[in-house]
Amino acid sequence: MAHEHKLAIFRGTLKFKNNIQKIWGVLIFLTLVTAVEVVLGIYKPEFLIETTFIRMKLLNWIFIILTIVKAYYITWDFMHMRDEVKGLRRAVVWTGIFLICYLVFILLTEGDYIFEVYNNGFQSWDF
């Protein structure tokens, strides 16, 4: 078992001297991202709420993208996915991403359809 770690993050822009430094660096980054999320969640800038992109508020897009960014760094640096071989990386990540995207697409489409049925049907649901 070799314990060599790849020590650069952000596609090589930020290089660390050793693994422990990298861990603290990633912690600082994750904390920053979480802080941005919390601040946005508390203040909810009007511009981000009013603008929608593919039927979702810009703010929610930001939250979801930041979450995926955090997930990437947790998996890559804390779970050492960066140091695994390509085959293992792909077996884990692609399988998960594909199945999750499929499931989310199916369920959200169906949920939206049922909302339309409730909304446009002749039956009243509010009594």
Partner: protein, 325 residues
Amino acid sequence: MDTTVTHNNSEGGTWSGGNQPLKASYGKLMMWFFIVSDALTFSGFLAAYGFSRFKFIDAWPIADEVFTHVPFVHGNFPMIYVAFMTFVLIMSSVTMVLAVDAGHHLKHKSVAFYMFLTIIGGIIFVGSQGWEWATFIKGDFGAVETKGGKILQFVDTEGNRLALADFAIEQASEREQHLGKNGIWYDKEATPTTYSIEEVKAGFAATPNALIRIQTLTEDGEKTVLSREASLAKLNKDGKQVVEGANLIHNEYGAPLFADFFFFITGFHGFHVFSGVLINIIIFFNVVLGTYERRGHYEMVEKVGLYWHFVDLVWVFVFTFFYLV
């Protein structure tokens, strides 16, 4: 014996066994298998939450109004405590990865130290989660449920929330809780609420600045407030029972499904953290007793580390979809 012994004398042949294309040990690979399947389980739950939310997209509870408390402090602080919990979990992930790193350098004492910190972090997180549950179950302002299962909440003319205790008028009543021991043995009712629906109705009629807030969201994403006349009519015509706090059937914050998914998903995650703490404790004692030092490597720490980071990873998503989006 010959039949049970594996011979690794097939060097060179790619398909003749004995080589490790993924360059990872059996144990770590199995942990990755488990993580992938567990990730799919959690995504199933979160996607089901999304499904139910899309189904009632125009009337879903606003998380900022539900989770507003911080222990030992009074006031309205949406998100602060859950952000703290997120930080605790990320921090315990860091101590875990430091333990793994110390294990690579065979530093027996620092592995034990960092494992200990990780356990503490996990315990703080589970405790916070328990507190969060208790606050959610106890409830905040109280509400009235309609015959159709919709929730009516109370506000004053400025839009500030009114608790039932602010306006309900107490009336003498001889109503007792129906327990299984009196009356029909297989039939019983839940703990009675502090105020009855009649008391709330009377109090509401006598408080001129009280209005009703229904679940439907306005264009700005806020709850719709009815006019005084509409409020009185709605409460008297449709009001069925008082709801205080949340459980699997009634939920004063809005759709009962919200509470169901909250209990189920954060509960399942909390259970993962809890078992993670237990496994961490076992590994911690093994480290202290020197089991891995004698074995010559700390791979067990690495494996439990993978699990622990995964629990953190799931929380990042739960945090987003329950508290932010």
